[in-house]
Amino acid sequence: MIAYLIRRILMLVPVFLAVSVVIFSILHFIPGDPIDNLLKIGSSPEARAEMEVRYGLDRPLPVQYGIWLSNVLRGDLGTAIVARRPVADLIAQALPHSLWLGGLALLFSTVAGVGLGVVAALNRDRWPDRAIMGGVLLGSTMPSFWLGLILMLVFSVWLGWLPVSGARSWTALVLPVLTIGLGGTALVARITRVSMIEASGRDFVTLLHAKGLSPLRIQLRHVLRHALIPVVTILALRIGWILGGAVTVEVVFARPGLGTLLIKSLSQHDYPVVQACLLMLAMAVMLGTLLGDILQAVMDPRVRAALA
């Protein structure tokens, strides 16, 4: 098991390096230059050159990359060019908001999705199944910014129950979490339902029935446990998807977070900030994948046996 873990983590190294190269180089293809935003209008080329030296933008790209990567690995994310403060400070301001939003949305999708999926599977092909599956399909096909605006219209404007935007209180989290969570719920419910139905057909279930256990007990105690393996794996794989959803939702609800920081810095060409945000998001995805693999290994007896 330990050997598997180490191998699995080592496999992340080349992907991390590739990701860092892409993040670093792709930004330099975006037209426009952050230095332009800093320079006095009508500045001399010398002033420009001086500014480039100051931010290290005068050196060849591979050298810039090397410096950047070694700084990042030492925990130094650089200084924001436009915002003029350590990138780490900006990330520290934004990250907790995104973590709460993403974490709660993940929790919501898991709880609601598994619950609905179980109910649907237990009532397979009857009306509760059809109603739930229809409902979650609807939830997954609405663009998240649209769903967010509609929820805002109904719960904040018409009913006046929840704040419209921002992050000044806990209640401001409810609508953004719902907006992202509903999309995830659909996915989890579908997978839970399918794997419950599949697991019900397995030999051990027939055996349990033969032993005279109550059908509901079999479903909830034994079948669900098997059915949860793919759910957990898919959820971990989908962390990136949830973070992606957070980008738009943060903008809709004018919430602080990595998404709003990224969009703002992208439009200002504040390279160090964009690089740091992308790196954070990519690392979250990679860790999610890793987590998914590990959880699968821990939960699936067959994989566990193969690794032992």
Partner: protein, 527 residues
């Protein structure tokens, strides 16, 4: 300068607990939403910033203040005197004034501040350019020795960019000044600043030196001010409507009707300082032909835009300056107004004949031009109306939308033909800013560089010995620019603000060009 990343994660988890604490709205606390065109200001450093927001004007006092009638009144300066030849100005400073960090405000501080301002060589340096040196006459008297007469000096000194910074901390903090810490003499102190998100100011309890126009000279009646930055007007409006915030510092005209429907909300208007216009790139065909420029300019139906896009609030613009400025009074022949007959005649004359599909043609080529705009919703709406109006005279304008903060880079390429823009300024020197031949691309989006205009510009900027001369020179410069059609004026909005009248008592009369320090001193929160 750079923190270790581990420390950052630690502080991240600490702020998680801060997030846990419920934030009850205490009495004597008010939540403002920053004007949409002030969203994203990266620093509270008035010397180096090119963009400052309303909160900056509360942290920093100025030597003089400007009243609604654009006259100047004492603030940190008790009185002042200009030498008859305009070559020196003497300011008598208020006594007993201290900065937020306890340092005294005196003649030496003013001298140090002006020297920092000049040394920074920033984009704002022109404001102090005519000041050759500063003499400390006595502890509370300071004299500016001028290199030339500057009739605009009091205007510059009243501007937020010349907010008086505390020189010692400014020198010590470097680029962190205005970001992590900032000290002025203002009625409020900076408590926290999350760029693009929120600024919190607390009352300066020692404050007693408010500007002459405020009824209350200090300390302020509101203890805590929160300024939120919300990029979308509609979201800000919904926050106000649902009680999430108390005051919107900008309200687009099309929302006035919605606010009037709400019983607890009130509208506050002040004369406008904004002007919307359509720059025309004079170097790009077909607009290198002045007839085509004039035609495009006169195809813009300002009245229709005022009524349909802005709900009739504000006024049409027919010059490049807001009507409150004397330099806007140019000859009628130079004013630019809707004249479709003239526009059509000019295009015919220039060889662009009407084609079968309503688009003009010349040598088989359609009259197709690009029209750039910004992604904010009001820009997009106005631009679509402009597009339709240009089409009415046979010009096919293709819209390209850029992110608001990205569009400057695009203008620097000089590839633009037409664009829709707005500016916020209440001094005639804005003509120099947007049409000066040394700023091609941005801010001179029109790429206008005309020898006669440059001569008139020099006379206007540095050639005047007194205010009357300055007005005359600027009027002549402005008038000449208008006759070359490097842009079409469109609209002058009012400054429209809105607030929750159940929560706030807003002073009945605001004797200032904007809702600034004086108004904030008089503002009250209902118990």
């Amino acid at each position: 300068m750079t923190f270790s990343f581990r420390k950052t994660l630690l502080s991240a988890s600490v702020s998680l607990t801060a997030l846990l604490a419920a934030q009850a709205v205490a009495a004597q606390e008010a939540i403002f939403v920053m004007a949409t065109n002030e969203v994203g200001a990266p620093t509270y450093n008035p010397i180096k910033a090119t963009m400052l927001n309303t909160a900056t004007g509360l942290i920093f006092d100025r030597l003089v203040s400007q009243a609604a009638d654009l006259s100047y009144h004492p603030w940190l300066a008790e009185s002042w005197e200009e030498a008859p030849d305009g070559m020196s100005w003497t300011f008598k400073l208020k006594e007993g004034v201290t900065y937020h960090n306890g340092e005294p405000f005196n003649a030496a501080a003013v001298k140090a501040w002006i020297e920092l301002f000049k040394a920074a060589q920033g984009e704002n340096a022109y404001m102090a350019e005519a000041i050759a040196s500063v003499e400390v006459v006595d502890d509370h008297t300071v004299r500016f020795i001028m290199s030339r007469p500057e009739p605009n000096l009091l205007y510059n000194l009243s501007s937020t960019f010349m907010g008086v910074v505390e020189p010692k901390s400014y020198a010590a903090l470097g680029d962190d000044y205005g970001v992590t810490e900032v000290y002025g003499t203002g009625a409020f102190k900076l408590e926290s600043f999350a760029i693009g998100q929120e600024t919190v100011l607390v009352r300066n309890d020692d404050y007693t030196w408010g500007p002459a126009e405020a009824a209350n000279h200090g300390p302020a009646k509101v203890a805590l001010l929160t300024f939120r930055e919300i990029p979308e007007d509609s979201t800000a409006f919904l926050e106000l409507k649902t009680g999430g915030v108390d005051f919107l510092l900008s309200v687009p005209a099309d929302l006035i009707g919605e606010i009037e429907k709400e019983p607890d909300l009130a509208i506050l208007t002040l004369p406008g300082q904004d002007l919307w216009y359509m720059p025309i790139n004079v170097t790009k065909a077909p607009f290198d032909d002045i007839r085509v420029r004039e035609a495009a300019a006169k195809a813009i139906n300002q009245q229709e835009i005022l009524a349909a896009v802005f709900g009739g609030a504000g006024a049409v613009a027919d010059t490049f300056l807001i009507s409150a400025l004397p330099e806007s009074h140019v000859a009628d022949s130079a004013k630019i107004s809707y004249d479709p007959a003239r526009a059509n005649a000019l295009l015919d004359e220039a060889g662009w004949t009407m084609g079968p599909d309503g688009i003009r043609l010349k040598d088989g080529q359609p009259l197709k031009v690009s029209l750039w705009t910004q992604s904010d919703s009001i820009f997009r709406r106005l631009t679509e109306v402009v597009q339709a109006q240009l089409k009415a005279v046979g010009i096919d304008a293709e819209i390209t939308t850029f992110d608001s903060s990205m569009i400057r880079d695009q203008y620097k390429t000089g590839e633009q033909q037409l664009a829709v823009r707005s500016y916020n300024w209440d001094n005639a020197d804005i003509v120099d800013w947007f049409f000066g031949g040394d700023r091609l691309g941005y801010p001179n989006v029109s790429m206008f560089n005309d020898p006669k205009a440059e001569e008139l510009r020099a006379a206007a900027m540095t050639g005047a010995k007194n205010s009357e001369e300055r007005v005359a020179n600027f009027t002549a410069y402005h008038e000449y620019v208008l006759t070359q059609f490097p842009m079409a004026p469109i609209y002058q909005p009012l400054q429209v603000m809105a607030y929750n009248a159940d929560r706030l008592i807003v002073p009945a009369k605001i004797d200032a060009p904007a809702f600034g320090a004086a108004a904030f001193l008089d503002l009250e929160v209902k118990e």
